[in-house]
């Protein structure tokens, strides 16, 4: 693979991660949401793989494999299982309408670029372009989180933020120290598990996952 093709592929995959984020915003069904997330994680895994190939750093291969196994296989399965088990209503029920959300997210993408711009301007690592994308993904994930009602979609949104972070970690630093990466994976995994536990508890107590009903604590 030529150097150029390689960088194009890497950039392309990064673009796919961003694009899937937009899809996530547009998704209206819970299962769809999980599906798109799987796709994003897959793209992220591939991205890591190509970066590993490009830099020759072995531990990034491991990261790629872990990403695909945990984020593209185990976590989506777990999410699907939870959704089935507690029979969430299938609609996502966004707080902000989808067209407007998409518009906002476009704005966020621009802001991401604006923020990353000074860094890109004096950087010399080729993948630094990806910084803008990863900031955008993080912001979109954040937006997703703030604009969704269901506890489940919040979990997905958090995972999207994590994906954005990984994109950044892999692209601009060519991976963090291995022990940190492993720790983070473990952490993400446990976080999702614990959130799952709480989703069950909440469902049992409130008989809904709609966070609108969780407004007892206020001033």
């Amino acid at each position: 693979m030529t150097q150029e093709l390689l960088t194009d592929t890497i950039n392309g995959l990064a673009a796919i991660v961003l694009l899937t984020s937009f899809f996530l915003v547009a998704n209206t069904r819970m299962h769809q949401l999980v599906r798109t997330f799987t796709l994003q994680s897959l793209a992220l895994g591939l991205f890591a793989f190509f970066v590993a190939y490009y830099t020759g750093a072995e531990h990034i291969y491991l990261v790629a494999v872990l990403t695909i196994i945990i984020k593209a296989i185990i976590i989506p399965r777990f999410l699907d299982y939870t959704i089935e088990k507690i029979q969430v209503k299938k609609e996502v029920e966004p707080l902000v309408g989808i067209p407007l959300s998409l518009l906002i997210c476009t704005g966020l993408a621009f802001i991401g670029y604006y923020i990353a711009e000074p860094v890109i301007a004096n950087g010399n690592i080729i993948t630094k372009n990806c910084l803008a994308i990863s900031v955008a993904v993080v912001l979109i994930g954040f937006y997703l989180m703030a604009s969704r009602r269901k506890a489940m979609s919040e979990v997905v949104a958090l995972l999207v933020i994590e994906n954005g972070l990984f994109l950044a970690a892999i692209s601009i630093t060519y991976g963090m120290p291995l022990i940190v990466e492993l720790g983070i994976f473990f952490d993400v995994f446990v976080t999702v598990l614990i959130m799952g536990v709480f989703v069950f508890k909440i469902n049992r107590t409130f008989e809904t996952l709609d966070t609108r009903f969780m407004r007892r604590l206020r001033d």
Partner: protein
């Protein structure tokens, strides 16, 4: 003769100088032990009380000895210093400190004796150990406030004093209305402390030292405008404690809410702690005095005096009346302080000394008569279990000793010659009249106004005193409680009796006392005016051409004439035969409802000063079934405190309203919460990237 007396004195100086440290330590240790024992013995109320009161009494004696030594012979260093983050903490006692320490110890000793009997009241209802412990610690904090020579140490002692007095106010916390009063006090005094803190820290910042003595030496390194800022802050800060208008509002609420022995301490002594610090700060720490400082204090003092006395006139709660009278008297003291500062700023040091002596002397007099009056009020409260003067009456016959003591206190408060209160007010008038020499148009306008206000205040204070005594002690009882009143136990009477005697001593022997106060003022201003101030038994304001006065002679003459009259009437008219009959009643039997009450007594004045009182009367008539027969007419009188209505309430409302606006962010919606973080993140990134 001269030589030998000097020899004795210097010998005494050495001996007492050696002992002064141990005296001071003994004072502290006794108080701490007293507090601890009182707390430990709290199950045995009587024992605990006795221990605490004797600890206070013994310490007060030790403190008085120490104080007298310092006043006579100059400052002493007390105890070892403690190195801390904020410089060394040292304790020392200068002459002005000694003066106030003597005041504190004198009142404390009387209160300790009084408390022995008074506190019995609380047995079984409130914890005796708590009261004893707090009382000892409160005394300790007062001593530390006077003697600390380090800003931070001072602030700690100061706030300790506030907190302890707050706790003492809250002693009867379960009673209605006590908690809000105490709370208001705590908040106000804390705000005041904040101002003091900022001011002292600024001074420390510029002089580079936390020791008061270094600040006094290094004021020159503080820029002029910073010194003025410090002055304003200190005025607000200490003024809050002193009950200066308009930051006085806590005082009439909190002083009455406390148990009476504590009210006596708060009104008599604690407010004076603000005075000592003001005198020290304005004369010693802040460098050359600015004229406008004096003017500001003079003006505020005049207003405080008037506001205080007018409010005292309308109160029907005996202790509130006395508390407002404290506001008034602190106003009078401020007038003196302001005059002294003005004179000092013009370099008229001798006049400044006169005004300062008047101020300090009035502070002492006020401490004595106000403590006496609060103890008297406590005694009345003890007998009638009410603070409402409308429900009293006729107590002079039932409590002869208490009524005599209170009458003496009231006479001193109303500045009736030859008592102490009169002598200090006389000196104050004289020093104000001397201001004719100052060539400044603003002063020429403000001084006459404050003379007028002082005169008006004096007259109104007399009215207030008459009303107080007349309503509480004279005529017939207006309630059963007053009917069944009884004289207080002996310990209470002894405590009051000593203070009552002091009221006379301070007046009659003022010619002997003033030189020592001059000693104190000389330590501040550097000028001694004893030779001009006192001549034999005559007292005069610097120049004896201007005026002289001899309280002792006045008393002798008055007693002489009284005796003469009595003798002549006896000689001419024969033996006094007095027949006791009913009061003239126009034919209808007199009941308690026919009598003049306190409200009725002050009603004409309330009408005259209605723009200040903002009183609203409300007369409601209830009819029986027939519209021609009235069943009941109720008369309601409400007063609005203008400071409360136009400053404090709006302030609280404003802050609460703003808070409500701000607090809407805590909606309970997790999406909103996330959005805040999100927006904050975006903002910071876009602005600071």
């Amino acid at each position: 003769m001269m030589v030998s007396s000097m020899g004795v004195q210097s010998l005494g100086r050495e001996m007492v100088g050696m002992y002064s440290q141990s005296l001071f330590q003994a004072l502290i240790i006794i108080l701490l032990i007293g507090a601890a024992c009182a707390a430990i013995l709290h199950k045995h109320a009587k024992l605990s009380r006795s221990v605490a009161c004797s600890a206070v009494f013994i310490s007060a004696s030790a403190g008085a000895w120490l104080a007298i030594d310092v006043i006579l012979n100059g400052p002493v260093q007390l105890g070892v210093s403690l190195a801390t983050f904020f410089g060394d903490w040292t304790v020392s006692l200068d002459q002005i400190g000694g003066y106030f320490l003597l005041m504190v110890c004198m009142i404390m000793a009387c209160v300790a004796v009084y408390s022995l009997g008074y506190l019995k009241e609380y047995d079984g209802k409130y914890d005796a150990g708590l009261m004893g412990g707090l009382l000892c610690l409160f005394f300790l904090s007062l001593v530390l406030v006077i003697s600390s020579n380090n800003i931070i140490f001072f602030l700690i002692s100061w706030e300790l004093m506030s907190v302890l007095s707050f706790l003492l106010v809250m002693y009867e916390g379960r009673k209605e209305g006590v908690a809000p009063a105490g709370l208001l006090y705590l908040i106000m005094t804390h705000v005041g402390t904040a101002f003091i803190t900022v001011s002292f820290l600024l001074m420390a910042n510029y002089t580079g030292s936390y020791a008061f003595s270094d600040i006094a030496a290094g004021w020159a390194s503080i820029p002029m405008d910073v010194r003025s800022v410090c002055f304003v802050f200190l005025l607000i800060g200490f003024g809050t404690k002193a009950g200066m208008v308009p930051v006085h509002i806590w005082l009439p609420a909190a002083h009455p809410a406390a148990p009476s022995n504590i009210s006596a301490l708060m009104s008599g002594v604690m407010v004076k702690m603000a005075l000592i610090m003001m005198v020290r700060s304005f004369f010693l720490y802040l460098g050359p005095v600015q004229t406008w400082w004096g003017l500001a204090i003079l003006l505020i003092g005049s207003i405080s005096a008037l506001v205080g006395v007018l409010n005292a006139l309308k109160e029907t709660d005996i202790k509130s009346t006395l508390a407002y009278s404290t506001v008034e008297n602190m106003g009078i003291i401020f007038i003196g302080l302001g005059a002294s500062l003005i004179f000092d700023s013009y370099g008229l040091t001798a006049f400044a000394a006169l005004a300062l002596i008047a101020t300090l002397f009035h502070a002492l007099n006020h401490a004595v008569f106000k403590a006496l009056l609060f103890l008297g009020a406590g005694s009345v409260l003890h007998a009638t279990h009410t603070r409402n003067m409308e429900a009293m009456g006729g107590l002079a016959k039932r409590m002869p000793y208490t009524s005599a003591a209170v009458l003496i206190g009231l006479l001193s408060m109303a500045a009736i010659p030859p008592l102490g209160g009169f002598v200090s007010e006389w000196l104050l008038f004289q020093s104000l009249l001397l201001s004719a020499n100052i060539p400044d148009i603003l002063i020429k306008i403000i001084i006459p106004v404050s003379i007028a206000l002082l005169a008006l205040t004096g007259a109104l204070a007399a009215t207030m005193a008459v009303r107080f005594f007349g309503t509480v002690f004279l005529a017939r009882p207006r309630s059963e409680r007053a009917e069944d009143a009884h004289e207080s136990p002996r310990s209470m009477l002894i405590g009051m009796g000593f203070l009552a005697i002091m009221c006379f001593v301070l007046g009659l022997a003022s010619f002997a006392i003033l030189p020592y106060i001059d000693n104190v003022s000389a330590s501040v201003l550097g000028v001694s005016i004893t030779s001009q101030l006192v001549d034999g038994i005559f007292v005069s304001p610097i120049s004896s051409d201007f005026s002289t006065m001899a309280p002792l002679l006045i008393a002798v003459l008055a007693i002489g004439i009284l005796g003469l009259t009595w003798g002549m009437v006896r000689m001419y008219g024969g033996k006094q035969v007095v027949r006791e009959t009913d009061t003239w009643d126009c034919g209808t039997p007199l009941g308690p409802r026919n009598e003049y009450t306190g409200t009725a007594f002050s009603s004409p004045l309330v009408r005259i000063f209605s723009p200040i009182y903002r009183s609203q009367t409300e007369i409601r008539t209830e009819f029986t079934a027939s519209p021609y027969v009235k069943k009941r007419i109720t008369y309601g009188l409400r007063f609005t405190d203008i400071f409360e209505k136009y400053f404090y309430r709006p302030l609280v409302r404003f802050i609460t309203a703003v808070s409500k606006r701000l607090a809407v962010i805590q909606t309970g919606s997790i999406q909103a919460y996330l959005a805040y973080i999100f927006i904050m993140l975006l903002l910071l990134l876009v602005i600071f990237r």
